[in-house]
């Protein structure tokens, strides 16, 4: 009898534990790879922010699809520019903890952005017009700024007023001081020392306090307005659960997002082929992709433009590269197709020009007639030789080119070590230029040193991003980068000087400023783009050699189905925040569990 009782108890216990464990089975999930800070604090302003959960937890006013030029409303239902104000009608929604989302949250958020990140000071004031209408009073209604305010994930929901409100008064004080200093700078006025000191003291004390703040520690959760809320974060896994208060919650059919830590590309390769994650965008060599397709036929690849180009940039402080003939010879001596094969085999066709317009956008922005007037730098070593010879360069018996004053043409190609595709490209470029007769060596820039070395001008030539249309996908963004932004900071190209063109002597710096003002008027913009393309191609501040693509690998049919077809324009949402694409597909219910 005792034995029978024991068996009975054991059976009941077994049934209970099985029932409980089956009750614990979570709903359908999708898995990705990313990185995040650990311990996880849930504070966008803290160290490492919230890692790859950013676009899942926060919402911008809208998404922008570069391929169609369409804005998809997210947190904003509509918006308009009135005078110097951007008026935004907000969606009636709630934070994941049930607190209503209102215009006051935007006011709080902007104060925190000003105080913590000294940006965007162009927002002079936030007018709360009603619970769901907010007016951003702007110092400029430049199209770049409007686009950025509408699409940047930081503008609206990093600092919920009911979580960060206790710091708001202090944030506003720091923000106001910071903006006053910024305004004085814009007006070209001197900033009083006492104002500067007061700001620095208050800002550093405020930032230290906010950096340490952890919503997770204080409230046990991180209220979000986005589609998913981080609920369990360990060193190796970050689990997000569907925000039941999100306006798309009823359509969203995937209840959990699980992130594995992106420790290395090889880990992600193995996870993809084993079906451990559903999508990722690592750089994978061609043969490895072929092998993966054999092992896992569900693995699909969609390559989308990263809206950027890799380029060989020159340091114009070095006398050697002030010579346009040498730069042109280098352009002709480079076999760009070979560089593409080695460094980024999925990359689009390489352009024969170096005009600063992305190859994939060339037809949209540059007429065939204009392209005919531009020098075509198709691989042609003979042409490169003749340019050098005409310019007085000579080739010695050792096979090395010498400048007109007899010095060997020797230089280094620097490249940032952690960017493996750049390293491959730099290696190929170095070998090609060596074979042509220049004395070239490759120099690796160690991790963390890129900015110091490039901005400090401690290089001769370097592999870098050339034109890049991130943020606002328009040639103006690319030329701003080339002539007013990072590239000119690196190269010291004389962008403010006048260059001879068929339209007279023109300065690329001024042309860029004019282009920025007409970005919403395509006909006028095309005129400036043509002039800038001419200067860029003929005076070569850099030699672009391939348009970078973002290879998105996804598993169709393992855990989820419903990936868009390859022609879908929404894939173009991926550059600059691939998670936005995933969020869009999840929130409208397209990505759904495999039945």
């Amino acid at each position: 009898m005792k034995k029978l009782n024991l068996i009975l108890i054991f059976t009941i216990l077994l049934i209970i534990s099985l029932t409980l464990s089956s009750a614990q089975v979570k709903g359908p999930e999708i898995r990705f790879a990313t990185s995040w800070p650990f311990p996880f604090h849930g504070n966008a302003f803290g160290p490492g922010a919230i890692g790859g959960a950013w676009w899942f937890a926060y919402e911008p006013f809208s998404y922008y699809i570069p391929a169609t030029g369409e804005y998809i409303p997210r947190l904003a239902t509509s918006w308009k520019v009135e005078g110097n104000k951007l008026i935004v009608n907000l969606r009636k929604t709630k934070w994941s903890d049930g607190t209503p989302f209102t215009a006051k949250d935007i006011e709080c958020n902007v104060a925190f952005l000003h105080a913590m990140w000294e940006w965007p000071y162009e927002i002079a004031e936030v007018e709360v017009r009603s619970e769901n209408t907010v007016a951003l009073v702007l110092s400029s209604t430049h199209p770049f700024l409007i686009h950025s305010l509408l699409t940047d994930g930081a503008i609206s929901t990093l600092a919920p007023s009911h979580v960060y409100g206790k710091f708001l008064a202090e944030a506003k004080e720091v923000a106001s001081l910071g903006r006053r200093i910024w305004q004085l700078g814009v007006e070209g006025k001197k900033v009083p020392e006492d104002l500067k000191k007061d700001y620095e003291k208050k800002a550093s004390s405020f930032r230290a306090k906010i950096n340490e703040f952890s919503p997770i520690k204080e409230r046990g959760r991180m209220p979000v307005v986005g589609t998913y809320e981080p609920v369990r974060v360990t060193q190796t896994e970050m689990v997000l659960e569907k925000n039941k208060n999100h306006w798309t919650a009823s359509k969203n059919r995937i209840s959990r997002v699980v992130f594995r830590r992106w420790s290395s590309n090889e880990f992600v390769w193995a996870s993809l082929v084993a079906g451990e994650i559903d999508a990722a965008h690592p750089s994978i060599p061609k043969d490895v992709v072929d092998q993966f397709n054999l092992l896992n036929p569900n693995l699909k690849l969609k390559a989308v433009s990263d809206l950027s180009e890799f380029a060989l940039v020159f340091n114009f402080e070095k006398p050697l590269f002030k010579d346009l003939n040498l730069r042109k010879a280098i352009a002709y001596a480079l076999n760009r197709a070979k560089v593409r094969d080695i460094a980024a085999w999925q990359a689009k066709d390489v352009s024969d020009y170096s005009h600063g317009v992305l190859k994939s956008m060339e037809k949209t922005w540059l007429s065939t007639d204009l392209l005919k007037t531009l020098t075509n730098y198709t691989y042609n070593p003979a042409k490169a030789e003749s340019i050098l010879k005409e310019a007085g360069y000579t080739k010695g018996s050792d096979g090395l080119w010498r400048t007109p004053d007899g010095k060997v043409v020797a230089f280094a190609v620097s490249v940032y070590g952690p960017h493996s595709d750049w390293v491959l490209a730099a290696r190929e470029i170095t070998e090609q230029l060596k074979n042509f007769g220049f004395k070239v060596e490759l120099k690796i820039i160690p991790e963390g040193m890129r900015d110091t070395i490039m901005r400090g001008g401690d290089y001769e030539t370097a592999v870098e991003f050339g034109t890049a249309w991130w943020g606002y996908p328009h040639p103006a963004t690319g030329y701003t980068r080339l002539y007013q932004g990072e590239v000119v900071d690196f190269t010291r190209f004389p962008a403010k000087s006048n260059f001879k063109t068929p339209w007279g002597n023109l300065s690329p710096y001024e042309l860029t400023e004019k282009l920025q003002e007409v970005t919403s008027k395509p006909a006028e913009a095309k005129d400036y783009v043509a002039k800038l393309a001419y200067i860029t191609n003929e005076y070569l501040p850099m030699i672009s050699f391939l348009e970078k693509v973002l290879p998105i690998f996804y598993l169709d049919g393992k855990r989820v189905v419903g990936w868009p077809n390859p022609e879908d324009p929404r894939w173009s949402l991926a550059p600059g925040g691939i998670e936005r694409l995933y969020v869009l597909l999840l929130s409208n219910g397209e990505l759904r569990p495999k039945l």
Partner: protein, 284 residues
């Protein structure tokens, strides 16, 4: 010469090690004169298996692996020998000074040795990579940087030996004869330490080689695409050769060469130690 060669031929470990090292030294010295190097890529020819035309096959760039191994041997072997040499010189000088001089100087040197023994080398190399990032370092400078992290254990061991030697009678005799510190150090003490220093020189080769590979990865040493460490990095991390059967030969050939070079050095060092130290000779 005969006196040097004969014991090596008699000792199996020393002999095999000597042969292996000789092959690599010949590879590094004469090899580049015989085998031409063509680093032009040919993507269509990538991952060709070993054949008569390409004895080791081709890599991800479609470049002959054998040619690269031969030309890379120069920087791998050269850098390792130089670094090991510097480590032994620094270690021996500081070790002897610490052991012989005594007093405050000895304590000061002991502190320095201890500091270098406890500093973790990899983070220190990362910092050095940042410091020297914008400078062109030649092979000697890089070898000195490597040697900085290898000399301390040797210095500690040598100082201990000098401590014991300096109290022996013949040293006391030299002192009484007023033969001077220089004479005592270099005529009396140094000859007794030479075998030990030589063995250390050989064993340090392994450490130096590992360091040089690390420095290439960090971008501190001059980038040489044929350096075996760089080749291995390309094979494993850029080309993902272990993920495709077509490319297996690419990293494996490089690994075999690195293993054989280090193994040759270890065998030779063990053999030499056995020759100098009769207690270790099992066959006698």
């Amino acid at each position: 010469m005969k006196e040097f060669i004969r014991p090596i031929l008699m000792n199996r470990k020393a002999f095999i090690g000597f042969i292996l090292l000789s092959i690599f030294i010949l590879m590094a010295t004469i090899g580049p004169m015989i085998v031409p190097l063509n680093l032009s890529s040919n993507f269509a020819e990538r991952y060709k298996p070993p054949s008569f035309q390409h004895p080791y096959g081709t890599d991800y760039f479609g470049i002959d692996i054998f040619q690269q191994m031969v030309h890379g041997a120069r920087s791998v072997v050269g850098l390792s020998v130089l670094a090991s040499f510097f480590a032994v010189i620094i270690g021996a000088i500081i070790g002897i000074a610490r052991g012989y001089i005594g007093g405050f100087v000895s304590k000061f040197l002991d502190t320095i040795i201890t500091i270098f023994l406890v500093i973790p080398s990899f983070p220190a190399l990362l910092i050095m990579a940042a410091i020297f990032a914008d400078r062109s370092l030649n092979m000697i400078t890089v070898a000195l940087i490597i040697a900085m992290w290898l000399w301390a254990p040797l210095a500690k061991q040598i100082s201990a030996q000098v401590f014991s030697i300096k109290s022996r009678e013949f040293i006391e005799t030299s002192k009484m004869l007023n033969l001077g510190t220089f004479y005592i150090l270099f005529k009396d003490i140094m000859p007794l330490l030479l075998p030990y220093i030589f063995i250390n020189f050989i064993t340090q080769l392994k450490g130096a080689m590992e360091f040089s590979v690390g420095l290439m990865f960090l971008g501190l040493a001059k980038f040489d695409p044929t350096h075996w460490g760089v080749m291995l990095n390309y094979a494993l991390y850029q080309a993902g050769a272990l993920y495709t059967p077509r490319g297996f030969h690419y990293p494996i050939i490089i690994m075999i060469h690195i293993v054989l070079l280090i193994y040759g050095g270890i065998l030779f060092a063990q053999g030499i130690e056995e020759i100098f130290n009769p207690k270790l000779r099992r066959y006698e």
